[in-house]
Symmetry: C2
C-alpha cells in the first residue's frame, strides 16, 4: 500500500536578503522621512514618485562593484518584449523622467523622491537587497550654485531630523580637480575622456576605499594591484609610483582652512585647464556657503572624497557623522557616511543626446535612522493601546463602546479579541502590546455601573521595586464610575 | 566608405502600464494615507512593512480573473534557486508574516500596511500594473467581533479623509450564507468543500459582476455561459434554471431593514447548518455595530456583495461611495466601490497546517483619492515657492540669503537657478512653478538697500480682469527695505 504524500507546504520565509519591518521600525523611519520632505519642500523641491519597475535600457548600467553577472539588478523579460527591472537607485529614473517630460517640467526642475530600491547583490549581515533611499536633485541648473544649495539643504535636513551641528560634516570635492590631477600626473588625456574611463574608474574606486584600506592599500590599487586578506587579487590602475604619489598628494591636500586647501589644489593641477576650472568651482561653492553661514564646521572642502559612482562629472559631496559609536567588536569608531551625491551632467543626455546639467544627493535612510537611534533621537518605546479586556462575552458591544469613547478622546484603545476564557492571557497580551492601562468590567461591575482600571506601567514598576513603600500612595488598580472612564484613563496615562 | 552607426539611445519611457506621479499627486495621496494610518493606529493596529519581493510559493495563487499564464504576477528565477515575484497584494505577505513570526507576534495581531502592489495584467486606460493598497487586518481573532471592528474602523477612516456620512455605505455579507444557499440549491456538498471549489468560484465571480452585467448576464454565467459584446465566450457554472433562481433570490434578499433581510436569508438557507451559522454571524455583527451607533445609514447587510477573491471563508464587506459622478461619456453614475475585504481563515494554514482565523480590509487608494478629488476634498492647487530672481550673477550669495531668511520664517522659497540672462524667462519659470511672489533686486536696488516684490497672484488676476479699477488700491509690485523682506512677503501671501 503506497502512503499518500502530504502536500508540501510553502516555507514561511522572506526571500534571502529581504526583511520585514514592524511597528516602530516603520513609523520612526516615516517620521524621519516626513521631516526631511518638509525641509526639501521648504527649499522649493517637488515630490516625484516613479514606479519600481523600469525598462533595463532606461536604467542603464551604473552600479559600481556588483558581484552578479546581471549587473546587480533584479530583471525579467516581458513575454517576447522588453526586459524590465527593479530600479537600483532613484537617480536613473529621474534621468528618464527629465528626458521623457522635458517639454513640460520647469527648468530647472527641483525634485525629491523617497522609496525603496533593489540591488541583486549577495546578501550579508545587515546588507539587504531592498532598502530605502531619499534623494533631492536639481536638473537643468548649470551653475555650481545648485550644488551649493544641495549641500546647504542637506545640512538643514540633518539638523532637522536631530543631528546637531558638530556631529556631522559635509565634505565637498570636485571630479574636475581629480581629472586635472590625473592629467597633471600624465594618467589622463583630457582630449579623449572615453579612453581613460576604465583606468579612471579603478582610480576612483581605489580612492573611495581609503577609509577601509589605508594609504598602502590605496597605493597598491593605484599601482599593480592588491591581494586582500581572503587572498583575492584586485587588479590595479597601473600607475607608476610617481603618478600614484601625485594622486595620493591630491587626497592629502586638505589644509587647515578652505583657502589653503584651494591653494594646495591649485598648485597640484597647475597645468590642467579642467583642473583649474574644478578648483574655481570649489571656490565658488565655498564662498556661496560661507555667505549663508555654512562655515567649515558644517561644510568643508576635502579632496579625499571622490564617491564610487562613475557618472559624476563635477562637484561631489558626502555627509559624515563625526560622533563615535561602538562597533560589533566593542571598538569605538566614527559613525561615518550617511549621504552622498554630486553633479552628473551626462545622465539625461543618454536619452536625448542633449547635455542637461544635473546635481543631487541621496541619503542612506537606514544608516541615518541607525544614527538617530544611536543618539537616542528616536526609539523611545511608544506606549501601546489601552486594552479593554473581555470578562463577559455577551457584553462585547459595551466593551467596544468603551474603546470608542477612549478613541474619540484621542486615546489609542482596543478591545481584546482573542479567546477571552483565561483572563491571565488577556493581561499577558496587554503586556506584549506595551499597554499602559487595562480596562476591566465583569458582570458585577457592570451591574454597579463601574469599571476597574489597572495601571500596567505602575504595576510593572512595583513588580520591579524591592519595596512597596514608595508606591503606597498610588494604587495600581482603581474602581471608577463607567461615566468617568475617559477622564480616569487620561489621568492614569499622565501619571 | 561605411558610415558609422550612431549608438542607439534608450527610450525615455515608463514601461507599459506604469506611470509617474508628480508633486501634488504624491503629496495628496500621502496626506490621505497619513490620515488613514492615524485612524488605524488609534484602533490599536500596528504598522507592518514587508518587502516588495516574496518567493512565488509564499505568495500562492489567489488572483481572480488573470489574463496571463504566469498567474498575473511579475516573477523571475534566482540563479538556479527560488522563483521570486513582486507581491500582488498585501494579504499574502501578511499570511507569510503571521506564519513566520507566529511565536513572537501578539495574538490577536492587528496590523496595517500601505504600499504599492504589482499585477502583471494587460494594461488599459486608467488600469496600471503598479498601484497602492492600504490594508488593515486582524490575525488570530476567531470572533466576528473582529469583522465588525474592521467595518466600523473603515467607516471611521472614510469619514476621517473627507467622505461624509451619507456619501458612503459599507455592505456586509457572509460567504457561509452563500455556501448555505448553494447547499440548499443542491449545488454544493458541504461534506466535500474542495470538490465544488471550481464551480463555486465561477458562481462567485458571476455574482460579483451583477453591477456590470445585470440580472440576465449573471443568470447566463450561472447557467451555460455567456457571450460578451466582443464575441468572447465565458463558460458558466452549469447550474440549472431552478438552482440559478435560488442564487438570484439570495442576491435579491435585501429587505427594508436588517432584521427583515436576516429573516429572508434564514428562510433561504433553512436546511443548511453552515448557512444558518452565517446568518447568525451577520446578526452578531449587526447588533455589535448597532450598539456602537453604526446604523444602516453607514453599515448595512446586503447579500448582493460577495467579492471576487476565492480565499474568503466568512463575512465579506465592501465600501461603496453613493454619490454620483459623471463618467467618461458624461452620464451620471454612482462612484462605486473603494474598499473591500472579509474573513480568510485558511491563508496562514497554507504555511503552518494550523488554522489561524484572520479578517481584514483593503482600501483602493487611487479610487478613494479620485473620489476625494471629485468631491473637491483635495486638489486645491497648492501655492508654489516664492522665487528669488537673479538680476546680478555676482550677488548669488545675497539671493540665497534672502531665500534662507524666508525659509527660516517657514515660507517656501527658492533662488532661480536657470540661466539668468533673460529676465522674462525667470518670470515664466515663476509662473510655471505657481509662485505667489517674485523677489527682485538689481544692482541699483542693492545699493539702496531695497528689494522689489511682485505679487504674481494679483498680477495674474489683473491680467484677467477687464478693468484695473478694482485693483487700483493694491499695487502688484512694491519696493520695500531689504530688512522688511520676510514681513512684506508674508503680508503679500496673506493677501
Amino acid at each position: 500500500m503506497s502512503k499518500e504524500k502530504a502536500p508540501r507546504r510553502p516555507r514561511a520565509e522572506t526571500p534571502k536578503g529581504f526583511r520585514d519591518y514592524f511597528g516602530a521600525e516603520v513609523t520612526e523611519r516615516k517620521a524621519m522621512l516626513d521631516a526631511i520632505a518638509e525641509v526639501y519642500q521648504l527649499h522649493g523641491f517637488e515630490a516625484l514618485e516613479t514606479s519600481a519597475v523600469e525598462t533595463v535600457e532606461a536604467l542603464g548600467k551604473f552600479l559600481p562593484d556588483v558581484d552578479r553577472p546581471n549587473e546587480g539588478v533584479f530583471a525579467w523579460q516581458e513575454e517576447e518584449k522588453d526586459w524590465l527591472a527593479l530600479r537600483y537607485d532613484l537617480t536613473a529614473p529621474l534621468a528618464r523622467v527629465a528626458a521623457q517630460y522635458r517639454n513640460d517640467l520647469p527648468t530647472p526642475y527641483r525634485r525629491y523622491a523617497m522609496g525603496p530600491v533593489w540591488r541583486n547583490e549577495k546578501p550579508g549581515p545587515g546588507r539587504f537587497r531592498q532598502f530605502y533611499q531619499c534623494d533631492a536633485d536639481t536638473v537643468g541648473a548649470p551653475s555650481v550654485a545648485a550644488d551649493a544649495e544641495i549641500c546647504a539643504m542637506l545640512a538643514n535636513a540633518l539638523e532637522r531630523v536631530g543631528i546637531p551641528r558638530g556631529d556631522y560634516l559635509i565634505k565637498v570635492n570636485n571630479r574636475k580637480v581629480l581629472n586635472g590631477v590625473m592629467e597633471a600626473a600624465g594618467v589622463l588625456d583630457p582630449s579623449d575622456p572615453e579612453k581613460f574611463a576604465h583606468e579612471r574608474g579603478i582610480v576612483l574606486r581605489a580612492i573611495d576605499k581609503i577609509d577601509r584600506l589605508g594609504d598602502a592599500g590605496v597605493r597598491a590599487l593605484l599601482g599593480e594591484g592588491r591581494k586582500d586578506e581572503s587572498g583575492d587579487y584586485t587588479k590595479g590602475a597601473g600607475l607608476s609610483v610617481a603618478q600614484a604619489e601625485v594622486v595620493m598628494g591630491f587626497m592629502a591636500a586638505k589644509r587647515e582652512d578652505g583657502a589653503a586647501t584651494l591653494a594646495a589644489l591649485r598648485d597640484l593641477v597647475a597645468s590642467s585647464a579642467i583642473g583649474l576650472e574644478g578648483v574655481q568651482e570649489l571656490e565658488t561653492i565655498a564662498s556661496l556657503l560661507d555667505a549663508q553661514g555654512f562655515g567649515p564646521d558644517r561644510i568643508v572642502i576635502d579632496p579625499s572624497v571622490v564617491r564610487g559612482l562613475g557618472y559624476y562629472t563635477g562637484p561631489v559631496f558626502e555627509a559624515e557623522l563625526t560622533f563615535e559609536i561602538l562597533d560589533e567588536k566593542g571598538n569605538k569608531r566614527q559613525f561615518g557616511s550617511v549621504a552622498g551625491g554630486g553633479r552628473y551632467d551626462d545622465l539625461v543626455k543618454r536619452f536625448t543626446g542633449q547635455a542637461v546639467p544635473a546635481t543631487g544627493v541621496s541619503i542612506g535612510v537606514d544608516r541615518l535612522l541607525a544614527a538617530l537611534r544611536a543618539k537616542g533621537r528616536v526609539g523611545a518605546e511608544a506606549p501601546g493601546p489601552v486594552v479593554v479586556t473581555v470578562m463577559d462575552r455577551d457584553r462585547m458591544a459595551e466593551y467596544f463602546a468603551m474603546a470608542a469613547d477612549l478613541r474619540n478622546a484621542g486615546i489609542r484603545a482596543e478591545v481584546y479579541l482573542g479567546n477571552p476564557k483565561q483572563f491571565g492571557n488577556q493581561l499577558k497580551y496587554a503586556d506584549k502590546r506595551a499597554s499602559p492601562v487595562a480596562v476591566i468590567q465583569g458582570t458585577d461591575e457592570a451591574a454597579r455601573g463601574v469599571v476597574v482600571l489597572k495601571d500596567l506601567i505602575l504595576g510593572a514598576r512595583i513588580a520591579q521595586s524591592a519595596t512597596l513603600e514608595e508606591w503606597k500612595d498610588r494604587p495600581a488598580q482603581v474602581e471608577i464610575p463607567r461615566d468617568d472612564l475617559v477622564q480616569a484613563v487620561r489621568q492614569m496615562l499622565e501619571g
